[in-house]
Structure formats: C-alpha cells, structure tokens
C-alpha cells in the first residue's frame, strides 16, 4: 500500500515539474526554434511549427548583428550596467553597514524607509524624471539611465547588505579593534572580505535590474543608437507592421537565456531580501 502511495506521489511530483517547466520555458523554446528558421519555412501555416521543415539558417543572426543596432544596444546595456553597479556599491555598502552596526534604533527606522522606497514604482516617477533629465541635458543619452537606475538598485542593495552585515558576528570586529584597528579599518579589513558573497549578489541583481528596466529607458531615450537591449529589441526590430521575427527572437534569446541562468545561482539571496530577512532562503 505504502509503495503504491509513494509511486502515486512520484507521478504527481514529476508530472507537476514537467508541467511547470513547460509553461515557464515554452516561450524561450519557441524563440530558440524560430531564430534559425528560413522565411519560407516559418511563414507557411500548414508547416509543423516545432520542426525544421527546411534546413536551419544563420541568416537572421547575421542580419541582427550586421544590419541593426543590436551590438550598440548590447554595448549600451553593458556600459550602463557596469556603471550603475559601481555607483550602487559605493553608496549601498557604507549605508548597509551603517544601518547594521552604527545607527541603532533610528537606523532601523531609516532602514525600513529605504526598503519602502523600493516599492515606489518607475511608473509613478517617469514623467517628472523625464523633465529632470531634459533639464540636465541628459535626454537621449545613456547617462540619463546611469543617473536614474541607482534609485531602484540602492534601496534593495542597502537592505540586502544590511542583512548580510548583521549576520557577521560582532566579536570579530571587536577583536580587530582590540588589536588596534579603528572602526573603519575593522570594517574594511575584517567585515568586507567576509561579505564578498553578499557583494557579488548585489552586483548580479543590480546588473540584471538595469537590463530588465523598460519604462525609463523607453521614456528618456529616443534615438536608436542610444537604446538599451530591453527597449531596442522590441521597438527597433518591429518597423511599423513588419516584424523581423527570427531576428527578434534571436535578439531576445541571446540576452534572456544567459541572464536567466546566472540569476538562478543567486536566487536564495534575493529571496532572503524579499522576505525582509525573516527567512533564510
């Protein structure tokens, strides 16, 4: 009896896993098939869409890289991502440490305030920020996004790092200070090396966040060569009613799949941040 029940449970578990994997991954699977298809294969409604009825081709990848601004989108996105990561680290590391160790009670309140800032969505701020960006002369430039993206990444990163610093035993810093380090040096020489994995998590989240962001990038930048991946692919590869489907799918898949895989490795940290450190993922 027990084994029958166990077998039933296994069937349910594997069936469920298969269903959810298919639901989640099917658009990406569809991208991967489509990007290598020839036009006459793709645009014949009777053809089985899941098979290559004609031999696969690399023409659409060639079009994407050589005849569109795709490489410029990639370059812009990477540049913005790297700069925003640097700004975020410079500002969020001290802030996180301050909230974890130096500010006591009132720091806790500021910390909650900073977390709540994470809930303020870009859709509420993009119109006034557009005016600010224009006033600063940064519209149509990637620098507008370098300036604005840290408003999303700093709150979450500060919160995440605060949790991280709190988890490091205070004895270690105290021992270092007894040994003659100042508070600042104890932080730099003892706490920072121990927090490396937290810092790496912040780097990954901030970078992916800059790739995800859509509204600011759509609003602030209107010239094609300055666009980011997220906005460039859906707006530039669709010209009027003409969809360059294969190139479009390639443009999305090339970025989406690797990012998705890297992100998964740091998932537990993200979950700890989302649940406000109440549960360790």
């Amino acid at each position: 009896m027990a084994s029958l029940r166990q077998r039933a449970k296994r069937i349910v578990v594997y069936g469920g896993v298969a269903f959810f994997c298919f639901f989640s991954a099917s658009p990406f699977l569809w991208m991967l098939i489509t990007m290598f298809k020839q036009d006459r294969d793709l645009y014949r409604a009777q053809n089985n869409p899941f098979l290559f009825n004609d031999p696969p081709t690399l023409d659409h990848l060639r079009l994407l890289f050589l005849e569109t601004n795709y490489t410029a989108f990639l370059r812009n996105s990477v540049l913005i991502g790297v700069l925003v990561v640097i700004i975020t680290l410079i500002i969020a590391i001290p802030a996180g440490y301050s909230l974890a160790r130096l500010t006591g009670r009132w720091g806790e309140r500021v910390g909650i305030g900073i977390f709540l800032v994470y809930l303020v969505p870009p859709t509420l701020l993009f119109i006034p920020l557009f005016r600010v960006v224009v006033a600063l002369g940064l519209n149509n430039s990637v620098w507008s996004l370098v300036l604005v993206y840290p408003t999303i990444s700093i709150p979450f990163s500060t919160w995440l790092l605060m949790g991280f610093f709190k988890a490091i035993p205070m004895d270690l810093e105290e021992a270092a200070m007894v040994d003659g380090y100042s508070r600042l040096m104890a932080f730099l020489k003892v706490v920072m090396p121990l927090s490396l994995s937290g810092v790496i998590a912040v780097v990954v989240f901030t970078f992916t966040l800059t790739l995800h962001e859509f509204i600011y990038a759509l609003t602030f930048i209107s010239s094609s060569a300055q666009r980011t991946i997220s906005v460039g692919v859906p707006t530039e590869l669709i010209r009027g009613d003409v969809f360059y489907w294969q190139s479009l799918m390639a443009g999305a898949a090339i970025v989406a799949i690797p990012i998705g895989i890297v992100y998964t490795f740091f998932l537990d940290r993200l979950v700890a941040g989302f649940t406000m450190g109440a549960v360790k993922g």
Binding site: G16, V17, C21, S24, P27, F28, W30, M31, T34, A45, P49, F50, I91, P94, A95, S98, L99, L102, T103, V110, I112, I114, V117, V120, P122, T123, L124, F126, I127, P128, F130, R131, V132, P150, T151, S182, R183, L184, M185, F214, I215, L218, S230, V231, V233, P234, M249, G251, A252, V255, A256, G260, I261, Y263, L267, V271, M276, A278, V279, G281
Partner: protein, 316 residues
C-alpha cells in the same frame, strides 16, 4: 625629528578618533544613500503631484496652477474607466491564479526529485529574464497568423470548420477583447509565478522538521498537514509574496505595452501605459502625471500592509 614623530602620532590619534566615533561614522556612511534617494525619488514624487495640478507640457514647461482640472478631464474620458478597471482586474485575477499555482509549485519544489536544479532554472527563467524580451516570445506565440497554439488546436481538432472553437483557423488571441485580456493576465502569471513560488518555498523549508515528523507519526493525511500546519505557518510569508505580486503587476507597463499597446481599441489599456501615451507620446506631462497618481492609493495600502506583515513575522 622627534617633534614630527609626535605630530604624526597626534595626527593619527586624531584620525583614529574620527574613524572610531560611531555617532559620526553612522550618519556619514548613510548620507550618500539618503541624499540620492531624496533627490531622485523624493523630489520627483512631489514634482509628480505638482505636475498633476498644473498645465505643464513638453512644449510649455512652465508650471501654472490649474487645481484639479487635469483629474476632472481624465475622469471624463471613457478610456479612464476602462484603464482603471483593467488595472485592478488584471492584478486581482493574476494574483488569484498566481497564489494557487505558486503554492502547488512550492510544494512540488520542496520534494526531492532528480534534475531539480535544471527544473528550478527553467521555472525561474520568466522572472530572471528581462520582461520586455520574454513578452516578445509571447507576442510570437500568440501571433494572429502563425501562432503555434493555433496549429496545435487545429491539429487536435479543436479549431477550424465544424469544431468546438469555431470555423476559423485562427484564434487571433490579441485581436479579440476577452482573449486579449486573458493573454495579458497569462503573461503576468507567467512572469510573477516563479518569484511567488520561491518566496513560498523559503517559507515551507523554514518550517520546523520535527513538527511535520510528529504530524506524520500521528497519522495526519497530506491534506490535513497542508491545511492545518503548512499553510497557516507560511501565511505571513504568503502575504509578502502577494503584496510584491500586487505591486509588480499593478504598476507594470511593459507587458501591455509590448503585447497589445492597450489594444484592440483600448480594451486592454491600463493606467501606466495610458499615462505614458498621454504624458510622453502625447506631450501632456500634466495629464500623464495625474493618470500615474491614480496608482498611489494602492501603493500606499500595500506599503502599510507590508509593514504590518513584517512586524507579524518578527513576533513569530
């Protein structure tokens, strides 16, 4: 020589004094973050309110106070009612589906099975990848002429002349009112489900093992354990997952913008997208800001609920 050494020691002691004072170091470390947030979140927020009460536009950037004129104009537009209803409807329906599916998915992921890390990676993809790019995949899946879903339906005999779903060979998912609305909801579910599931999973794995073992010894059935132990214990975490889901769905403009642009006609229009079309593309910054401000009451409510949920979790 000795004197300079004395100065050096004194100087070091002074520096030491400065870098040791927590009362100074604390605010100093926190300052840049606070300044950045106040300047680029706080100020723009009040600017949004000021815009909504003025007649500012892309062409004329002076702020002239017009009172609630913008709000009156907006409310009179038929699009407004539709956008407001859609925003709420899409959020509520998507979250209802997500919370059920996420509980099932979290329960499955808490079991041991082979290839778990691959499964976890595939399931996380929709949340981890840029949503604009993921939505493009859906755009093509739901295409009016070449949708593979249509092809499957036709080939299993559900679509086409003399079948259940009608005589035409295409569903035209994004061209029909109800189907377009359903499509938007499905993409939202697809996108948010992974995050909700892993948050719930974190809750499930934090449940005391002994408690579950004891229940098993006592002969509690699967359903009894689920409804009387697991679900009550993860309720606070579930509310957190739900609140994040509400915010991300309610304020999102990417899915609708890429998938339907609010169409057909304006049947899938939502507040954020309408705000963009009015404020940026139409150049009426004031009206756009006013539309976006309709998001605020919901955000405020969610923030308050979130704080209460967090406090409850601290106690337990």
């Amino acid at each position: 020589m000795q004197e300079s050494a004395v100065y050096e020691v004194a100087g070091r002691a002074r520096l030491r004094y400065l870098t040791d004072r927590e009362g100074l170091l604390g605010p100093l470390f926190l300052m840049p973050a606070v300044v950045y947030i106040v300047a680029l979140v706080g100020v723009p927020f009040f600017l949004a309110i000021a815009f909504s009460l003025s007649n500012v536009s892309v062409g004329d950037t002076s702020l002239n106070y017009v009172g609630l004129e913008n709000f009156r104009t907006i409310i009179r537009t038929p699009q407004f009612e539709r956008a407001l209803i859609n925003s709420v409807l899409f959020t509520v329906v998507a979250q209802a589906i997500i919370i059920v599916l996420a509980n099932i998915l979290a329960l499955i992921l808490s079991e041991d099975f082979r290839g778990k890390w691959v499964a976890r990676m595939l399931i996380m993809l929709p949340w981890a990848t840029p949503i604009a790019l993921g939505t493009i995949g859906w755009l093509w899946l739901l295409d009016s002429k070449f949708s593979p879903i249509d092809w499957v339906l036709v080939n299993v005999g559900l679509l086409g002349p003399g079948t259940l779903l009608g005589p035409r060979n295409h569903m035209t998912f994004l061209g029909r009112e109800e189907l377009a609305m359903a499509s938007v909801i499905v993409v939202h579910v697809w996108r948010m489900l992974p995050l909700s599931a892993v948050i719930l999973l974190a809750g499930l794995t934090s449940i005391d093992r002994d408690l579950l073992d004891q229940a098993e010894v006592d002969g509690a059935s699967f359903w009894r354990t689920l409804f009387q132990i697991k679900l009550p214990l993860i309720l606070p975490i579930m509310s957190i997952a739900l609140l994040f889901g509400i915010i991300f769905t309610f304020t999102d403009m990417t899915v609708v913008f890429v998938l339907t642009r609010g169409g057909p006609v304006y049947y899938t229009q939502v507040l954020p997208v309408w705000s963009f079309f009015k404020g940026i593309q139409g150049g009426a910054l004031a009206e756009g800001a006013a539309v976006a401000l309709f998001l605020f009451p919901v955000l405020l409510a969610v923030a308050i609920l979130m704080l209460r949920a967090a406090r409850r979790m601290e106690i337990t």
